[in-house]
């Protein structure tokens, strides 16, 4: 290989920079602050539809399943943790406890850089009808 020294050093520098997000917290000892999500009112109950870990990792496919079960099959009742029954609805059930899209959904979604398009149709509690503009930029 020509210029082996330079090429290999170049590759090593590239790999170092490329994996920076992985090794930096270990070496430098400090990760960026995780998003702080607003917890729902404790009066609404302490458990979500499923366990917290499951919701954190899998809420998107749970919501996709809910959509298909409701729209396609007409099943609207979901039996969650502790046998509690829920109406499968993002707008009427999820947002009934998680009152703020900005303080709950968006904080995590912004942190992991995803922008799901739920709010183009589903109405978030903070949405004010008078504020509607020609094309919502969010």
């Amino acid at each position: 290989m020509y210029n082996a020294g330079k090429v290999i050093i170049g590759i090593l520098i590239f790999l170092g920079l490329f994996t920076y997000p992985i090794w930096s917290p270990i070496v430098l000892g400090k990760a960026g602050p995780p998003p702080q999500l607003e917890k729902p009112d404790p009066a609404k109950g302490k458990v979500c539809v499923e366990a917290t870990d499951y919701m954190r990792s899998t809420h998107m496919s749970l919501l996709n399943n809910w959509r298909d079960w409701v729209v396609r099959d007409g099943n609207r009742i979901y039996t969650g943790l502790e046998g509690k029954k829920y109406n499968m609805s993002l707008q009427n059930t999820c947002l009934d406890c998680h009152k703020s899209r900005e303080k709950f959904c968006d904080r995590c979604h912004n942190y992991v850089n995803v922008s799901p398009r739920c709010w183009e149709c589903h109405i978030e509690p903070e949405y004010k009808q008078q504020q509607a503009v020609a094309w919502r930029s969010k």
Binding site: W69, R76, T79, Q91, I123, Q129, A132, V133, W135
Partner: protein
Amino acid sequence: MDKTRRDFLKIAGLSALGLGAKPAADAFAQSAQGPKIAPIPEALKAKRWAMVVNLKKFKESGPDALQACVDACHTIHNVPKFDNPKDEVKWIWTESLAHALPNEEHHFLEEFVKEQMKGLPILVLCNHCDNPPCVRVCPTQATFRRLDGVVMMDYHRCIGCRYCMAGCPFGARSLNWRDPRPFIKTKLNREYPTRTRGVVEKCNFCDERLAKGLKPACVEACKNKEIIFGDLEDPKSEVRELLRANFAVRRKPQLGTQPQVYYIV
């Protein structure tokens, strides 16, 4: 230790039984806990939902009754109102006799139809056809026919290609050319979503109300029983009684889509 063919078959048979035991046991365990998903117990159920629009009664009630039906539907479903007719979005609306029932227009039409119904606007909506052309042409299966006959839209899947609008002979479908939210002039119903730019929308026979055990909004808005909603497959249902006792027509039946909204003339 020699195995005969007979022994081998015995063991193979027992093994197959053993393999089948686990799913069977799981199924029993599942049914003991109750189903994970289920319909709402109060939901209205039917083999074939259909609607009967009584034009004679609408004639008695006057134009306010028609408008009440339209407003009830459009308010509940957050249907936008655009000033430009090219952008129009509608779920239920009125047409003249010649446009709503073009094949019924002829010189010797029954006296009631010809004289009294002249100029009477006729309420029209999605016909929830038994053989819906919109469903056949939809490339993403965003629109589909449920087993109880309701032709539904899954807005998540709609790509806005408008094949269904070309397929529908009743003009029951509207595309959101623009973001509809700023054009919702009524008070927003926060229990029901809006639509977004680039999806096609239409009447859903109030699927979300049927699931809760409520009749469709337009039926409820009719104080004088101008619209009757019920199960067409049930011979004792109110819709069947009405169809037995009255002469009823449908819109463009010759096209073979089998519309399920009937008009008593």
